[in-house]
């Protein structure tokens, strides 16, 4: 079972895939994807790729509301506990 650090690493990995310019940047839990330069399409891509890696099959709408990466990781962690 994945812990929160594993999920954080996945989010970072997929963020860098979608935003290659962040390769050198040290992404922090309290960073906001939007502040890192991710537009709404980029954010959808990052979240969906992370869900794919986690095989987490929940509607994306259930992951709305996260204010930063840490909160996104929390939401993802909750969902994998409950399925």
């Amino acid at each position: 079972m994945m812990n929160k650090e594993d999920i954080f690493r996945l989010v970072v990995e997929h963020t860098r895939e979608v935003l290659p310019e962040l390769e050198e940047y040290n992404i922090q839990p309290n960073d906001r994807l939007v502040d890192l330069g991710a537009n709404s399409v980029d954010r959808a891509e990052i979240i969906m790729r992370t869900m794919e890696s986690l095989s987490l099959k929940v509607p994306r709408v259930e992951l709305f509301g996260a204010k930063n990466i840490e909160e996104l990781v929390e939401l993802l962690y909750e969902k994998i506990q409950s399925v």
């Binding site: 290659p20 399409v41 980029d42 959808a44 891509e45 969906m48 790729r49 869900m51 794919e52």
Partner: protein, 339 residues
């Protein structure tokens, strides 16, 4: 912008940029610039790859597919990148799409909708599904030349057996003198006549009457007699029936004296892009006063034409005629005049 664009979108952005910079469009009012993108089903190969990758886990399909499966995604990409705020849309005319976009762009400028209009023939990124179906339809060349691929593409030659696909994309900037004058541009040519005509036929084969009709209409609008045309850039795909019909129309319209070659013998057939790319080939040849060779034209189906064969030739072109034909019975023709 490039990172989430499809291949067709990336090529489109790169191609428009070249035309944009040459026409110095950074100095023009973006609300008076339009973009017409010729073609449809640009991103078939991306679609096939997406469908195959996610066939058994549709839930995880990439969200960007919701954008890229639509042709109009190219409109969004290109207008955002260049800040185009006039008009923009796609329009489809199969293999005549590129010329159809140019003609639509001309009309957008003529009607005053915009002062400057870019016409793009976009890259049609075909997958194996389209290749196989084109081949089964008898349109795409067979694998007879699989061991000698350089010989497969042979428009107007007796040994041809279909078109050979070639990736390409072309963009053309159209405006009136009064709009261009303040930016100090050397124009390539004046557009003097054009025509679009339908055969009322779904058949992939062109019609002789349809082809003759657009040639005559374009010449009439340009106020030219056939003998004034110095160069014809034909559609010439290498298709069995299409090439025969087209060359008969060219001969019967008394254009046999004009020099003629086949751009697709070198580039391959870009489908939606071909009309724009061949207009560009025409204008670049006019600029250079030089005509490119026609590859693999060993025994032409029509000997009476003034073919440019295995070597390029010096040839001053004042008036040129470019032709395109598309599935669905569409014929287009455009005349250019270089002062």
């Amino acid at each position: 912008m490039l990172r989430t664009a499809s291949f067709s979108g990336q090529v489109g952005l790169i191609t428009i940029l070249e035309a944009w910079e040459e026409a110095k469009l950074d100095k023009a009012d973006p609300s008076r610039i339009g973009l017409v993108i010729g073609g449809s089903n640009f991103q078939q190969r991306d679609m096939v790859q997406m469908h195959e990758a996610y066939a058994d886990r549709v839930h995880f399909v990439r969200p960007t597919y919701g954008l890229t499966f639509m042709d109009s995604d190219l409109v969004g990409l290109c207008t955002e990148q260049f800040g185009i705020k006039g008009i923009s849309y796609t329009l489809g005319g199969a293999s005549a799409s590129g010329q159809l976009a140019i003609i639509q762009a001309i009309q957008a400028v003529q009607s005053g909708q915009v002062d400057i209009c870019i016409a793009m023939g976009a890259l049609m990124d075909v997958s194996y599904w389209e290749c196989q179906a084109f081949r089964s339809l008898g349109a795409m060349g067979s694998d007879r030349f699989a061991d000698e691929p350089e010989k497969a593409c042979r428009p107007f030659d007796r040994e041809r057996d279909g078109f050979i696909y070639g990736e390409s994309c072309g963009a053309v900037v159209i405006e009136r003198t009064e709009s261009a004058i303040s930016r100090q541009i050397t124009p390539y040519a004046i557009i003097t006549g054009w025509a679009v005509g339908m055969d009322a036929s779904r058949n992939p084969h062109p019609s002789y009457e349809g082809e003759v009709q657009v040639i005559k209409k374009a010449l009439e609008q340009a106020k030219l007699s056939p003998h004034q045309i110095d160069y014809v850039n034909p559609h010439g795909t290498g298709s069995l029936v299409g090439d025969e019909i087209e060359i008969k129309a060219i001969v019967d319209c008394q254009l046999s004296n004009a020099a003629i070659n086949a751009t697709k013998s070198i580039t391959g057939h870009g489908l939606s892009s071909s009309g724009a790319v061949e207009v560009i080939a025409t204008l670049l040849q006019m600029k250079e006063s030089r005509l490119h060779p026609t590859r693999n034209l060993e025994s032409p189906i029509e000997e009476s034409c003034n073919w440019v064969r295995d070597q390029s030739i010096t040839h001053h072109v004042k008036h040129a005629l470019s032709l395109n034909i598309g599935f669905g019975g569409i014929n287009t023709a455009i005349c250019f005049y270089k002062i």
